[in-house]
């Protein structure tokens, strides 16, 4: 997995690309740190270019959400498609994290 952060007027958009699995723990640690540091209240994770997520990847998304909560920031998942959308749906993540198309 790799990612890019785009800081806009109202929100920071983090676009994830590739496969998010247990092996991406180091990148997620860095990413969560970066999201916490930028000033914007609203942090959007754009999943539209993410091809695959596993259960540990879901866990890391939930950790990101919790850390944003602690930093009093909004956290949104956007644009999940294909396998990623299917898995997030099965795991009922929308109950915990706001999801946008």
């Amino acid at each position: 997995m790799d990612y890019g952060i785009e800081v806009r007027d109202q929100e920071a958009v983090v676009r994830l690309r590739g496969r998010l699995t247990f092996n991406d723990h180091a990148k997620l640690r860095t990413l969560i740190g970066e999201m916490g540091q930028n000033k914007l209240k609203r942090q959007v994770l754009d999943l539209s270019s993410l091809e695959f997520v596993d259960s540990a990847g879901i866990g890391m998304l939930l950790i990101a959400r919790e850390e944003m909560d602690r930093a009093a920031k909004q956290f949104v998942l956007r644009g999940a498609a294909g396998q990623v959308k299917r898995v997030l749906t099965v795991a009922q993540i929308a109950k915990i994290v706001p999801m946008e198309d």
């Binding site: 496969r19 699995t21 247990f22 092996n23 723990h25 180091a26 997620l28 640690r29 969560i32 740190g33 695959f52 596993d54 259960s55 540990a56 879901i58 866990g59 890391m60 939930l62 950790i63 959400r65 919790e66 850390e67 294909g82 396998q83 299917r86 898995v87 099965v90 795991a91």
Partner: protein, 269 residues
């Protein structure tokens, strides 16, 4: 699911299933030609430089060998992927090849090698080349295979506990434990064994046969050498604990065996 069986499943395969795959040749990326020639000869196989043709081949892999992650290594005619145990010769490989012959696809690798190979996706490519799967089903099976393999590697062989609390500290702990375990030669040398059998659909009602509904049935067993675990009620409120549930949603059958060191999944293809 049913739990609690304690059979050593890989031994059962070799004993009861007999020969499913007749290997014609042996390939080994990165191995000197003379050594491969000698090894293949003592195993009664042809040394193969470029995998081709219809006859099944076994490939010897080590994570360090250049080319061992090439895509074509995971497609027919290759049906077995074996990392030779350290210092082993033909005599050490023969029992692994015999086990491989009892299955349609077979992997026997160290944790260090398996960790770098995205095995779920590789296994799916090998399966899909034989039984083409449609998009959603393909995605589901890839996830189930990936979850079974990562459980065996991370929680089994490497002994790393899942992320419980939802916190960056817990992610750091997971990260650190995983790194420490991979750096431990004894843990990194533990093996993962994956055996896959495909039973084609049969015509008419099967008599206690495995294949029904006109769809082939895949049986996958993933075995590790970790401490095992006791299957119990699963919680999915923390950051981990969803893997087995996801597998259970996808597989027709899920059975934990050998004290939590092996998992058997069945899927309709």
């Amino acid at each position: 699911m049913s739990g609690g069986t304690t059979h050593s499943t890989t031994q059962n395969n070799a004993g009861t299933v007999g020969c499913r795959t007749r290997f014609a040749g042996l390939a080994a990326p990165g191995m000197p030609v003379e050594r491969l020639g000698r090894l293949a000869q003592s195993l009664g196989l042809a040394p193969v430089a470029e995998p081709a043709g219809p006859a099944a081949l076994a490939v010897l892999l080590t994570g360090a060998a250049p080319g061992s992650d090439a895509d074509e290594l995971w497609l027919p005619p290759i049906a077995a992927w074996i990392e030779p145990p350290a210092g082993s010769d033909a005599a050490g490989l023969a029992p692994l090849l015999a086990e491989a012959a009892g299955n349609d696809l077979y992997l026997n690798l160290t944790t260090a090698t398996a960790h770098d190979l995205q095995l779920g996706g590789r296994l799916l490519a090998a399966l899909n080349a034989r039984y083409p799967l449609d998009g959603d089903r393909r995605d589901d099976l890839e996830l189930a295979l990936h979850e079974a393999v990562s459980n065996a590697l991370v929680h089994g062989n490497l002994g790393v506990a899942g992320m419980k609390e939802l916190s960056a500290q817990e992610l750091e702990r997971f990260s650190r434990d995983l790194g420490d375990s991979l750096a431990d030669p004894a843990l990194a040398a533990r093996r993962i064994v994956i055996a896959l059998r495909i039973d084609p659909a049969t015509d008419g009602p099967a008599e206690d046969g495995p294949a029904q509904d006109g769809r082939a049935l895949a049986t996958v067993e993933v075995a590790d050498e970790g401490a095992g675990f006791i299957p119990g009620p699963r919680t999915s409120s923390g950051a981990s604990g969803r893997g087995l549930d996801l597998i259970g949603n996808i597989a027709e059958e899920l059975e934990i065996g050998n004290g939590g060191r092996s998992i058997r999944l069945r899927f309709r293809l």
